[in-house]
Amino acid sequence: MTLGAARAGPAKRASGAAAPPLPYDEMRDAKSRVRPHYAALAARIETLSADELAERQKTLERFFLLQGITFTVYGAESSTERIIPTDLLPRIIPADEWKTIEAGLTQRLRALNMFLADIYSGQQILMDGVVPRDLVLRAPSYRREMQNLYVPHQAYANVCGSDLIRQPDGKFAVLEDNLRVPSGVSYMLANREASKRVFPGTFRGAGVRAIDRYPDLLLSTLKSMAADWRPNPQVVVLTPGVYNSAYFEHAYLARLMGVPLVEGRDIVVHDNLVYMRTTTGLRRIDVIYRRVDDDFIDPLTFRRDSGLGSAGLFNAYRAGNVVICNAPGTGVADDKAVYAYVPEIVRYYLGEDAILPNIETFLCREPAQLSHVLANLDKLVVKAVGASGGYGMLVGPHSTRAQREAFAAALQADPDNYVAQPTIQLSTAPCLVDHAIESRHVDLRPFILSGEKIVVTPGALTRVALRKGSLVVNSSQGGGSKDTWVLTDRKELSP
């Protein structure tokens, strides 16, 4: 199939407005030449007919269906289980760009863990007025119960999945930090399995860095959180159950780590010790990799109506008899309003400038910024502070007048609850859509582990906005994903 030089055209805009910069094209430079790191893949695609590509796409989808790699879309009536849309053309990141990403993510997570350790102990950063006190302490994700609780290695967020986007100038920036229960890593691993089948030759030749150590690195990260005096700590994965949209991922990780996948009803807390019900009686649990939100961990401490967690779990955690990963209350560091202060937070704790910049963010709690946001609703993206998954969001340029009016009213009623950012033209990458190769907007979600040390897996989940022109990549909103190849540094390979 010939690769047309067509780029994703800029969205239609009202006449008279300044033209927004064209999005960065991952495969082609400004003169439409294929970038060197995409050359091999582009050459391979040229040799394949549209039918052959469609055939490979089918193979890929069948692989996902057979494995039961499915996702539950909330609000969809037809079926509860669907395959996550997956694109067969990998997204490629050269070694030098990855180096910056890796350094930037490591720096950022180190600072955010220090921030959490500070917030949940002496709160020095609030005393020094770097971050407004009420912004942190009034955030719904702040957990007073976590105050003065010992967390090994100050590793609050053991698993972090940050959302990066590439701006029109080619630089990566952080759009969001996910420090609560980030998901998607199983898709990263499954996409890789699939793309090895679809493009084996190109894959071998490209020098793609391996990501298959993720499960054992995750296990050793979790084990490093256990108390020293427990010689062979029992790690478990806690899932809300088979009806959760990410259940496949929970089972997948438990299987690859070789640890039990437990539900709340399998857990018994007695005398501040945590056990699971096995066929031969009760067995101690030392570390819980929980994939249940803070609110649902323990009905005695958090939400009383929760049936997903286990009564008494939090007290056992406070007593130091079990470790919950990620720690409850990490959400305060990925709060969309606190986000605006992350560059300051990095400078405060590490004395360094942030390697990965933030996206410019307007806090609607500030009256001056609120009026700017209200005046520019058609150009900005407005997000509710507490929401995630692409819900509660207004994408200005793609919105209707009625939607903007509804948001304006909501903003004025509860300004603290909203932030706004300029509409960023996410970079585009080639995707196979209806038998043709077209550009679609993509983001990048790498996964960072932090326990005794911080490890960035050399790979990521690239999320794709499959609807033409759309900028929303969330799987719950018509997004898909594709494999991400991080290339080996050739210079380091040759002697």
Binding site: L65, L66, Q67, G68, G241, V242, Y247, F248, A251, Y252, A254, R255, P260, L261, V262, E263, R265, D266, V268, H270, M276, R277, T278, T279, T280, G281, L282, R283
Partner: protein, 315 residues
């Protein structure tokens, strides 16, 4: 050591898979009998329907095709093949981390085909091919489990489910044919052949007893044969074997496991004599066997899954 909930799911996965396979076979035999247009077609359909506990067997047996289609595809009926497979797969999904990818893929594939909107049409176009493929795939599933899963505790719970279900299904089938609840005994040649087919036993039977179709031999074969994998005796021997292995750990804790019951059940079949069974009334014997199977099931649940915490908390 494994989670109690997981053991329970593996056990039920085994039971549902076995049930689905058995129902496919009953439907297949029912449909084959209709094709031959023999006079016993209705009787065969009645046997099959009564064996799955359908109270309307007499009425439905007059239209074996509709009865078979409902038995296979009716999602409203919790006892159909489609429902059994959906539950087997749901149980497998809950313990996805415990079963190998090879095993999971087989079961998922069968479920996807059964729940495909086109399934009804495929069944209409060639019901026997459809049933044949489903049975073959279920064999592949069991084979994959056998060949790729570790033969540890989890696998034993799965096998326990398979054999306990099988013992009960074959027992129920024999009760319908040879029990003395006022039903006319099955003596017709083609009905007897069909009965053996329902137990997947025709060829192995012929090798032992030749083509001499005698109700007494058939009862002896399906109930007491030592080597045939679908005889009740064979099933109970496996049940005892798996339970003995599973119970080792709880017995080490000073508790009694359900293996004593299983041993008694196995002995009952191992030392039975077909003459004595018939003299004392097959119904009484089969009833006792089915009762003890149900007891084993209850005790497995009480010992391994739903035990009271007071007994197991550290002192």
């Amino acid at each position: 050591m494994m989670l109690a909930r997981v053991a329970d799911s593996l056990y039920w996965m085994g039971r549902y898979v076995e049930r689905a396979e058995h129902l496919c076979r009953l439907s297949d035999v029912m449909l084959t009998a209709t094709l031959d247009r023999t006079e016993s077609a209705t009787q065969i359909a009645r046997i099959a329907l009564a064996a799955v506990g359908d109270p309307d067997d007499a009425a439905k047996a007059r239209n074996p095709y509709d009865a078979a289609r409902a038995l296979v595809l009716d999602r409203e009926d919790s006892g159909s093949v489609a429902s059994s497979l959906a539950r087997a797969r749901e149980n497998a999904r809950q313990v996805r981390d415990q079963i190998t990818t090879e095993t999971w893929e087989r079961l998922n594939l069968i479920h996807l085909r059964m729940s495909d909107p086109k399934a009804a049409r495929t069944f209409a176009e060639g019901s026997q091919a459809f049933l044949h493929d489903t049975i073959a795939d279920l064999h592949l599933f069991k084979g994959a489990a056998d060949a790729t899963m570790s033969h540890g505790e989890g696998w034993r719970f799965f096998q326990l489910g398979v054999y306990l279900e099988r013992a009960q299904l074959i027992g129920a089938l024999l009760e319908v044919c040879f029990g003395d609840r006022g039903r006319r005994g099955v003596t017709d040649h083609s009905a007897l052949t069909s009965l053996l087919r329902m137990g997947c036993a025709l060829e192995p039977y012929l090798r032992v007893y030749t083509a001499d179709m005698q109700p007494r031999y058939i009862l002896q074969f399906l109930l007491l044969d030592e080597d045939f994998p679908r005889s009740v005796r064979f099933c109970t021997a496996r049940i005892e074997e798996h339970l003995t292995s599973i119970s080792r750990h709880v017995e080490a804790m000073g508790l009694t496991g359900p293996d004593r019951l299983a041993g008694r059940l196995r002995a009952r079949l191992q030392y039975a004599d077909i003459g004595e069974v018939q003299a004392g009334g097959s119904s009484a014997f089969l009833g006792a066997v089915l009762d003890e199977c149900a007891q084993v099931h209850r005790q497995v649940y009480e010992t391994f899954v739903a035990y009271t915490l007071e007994q197991r908390l550290p002192a």
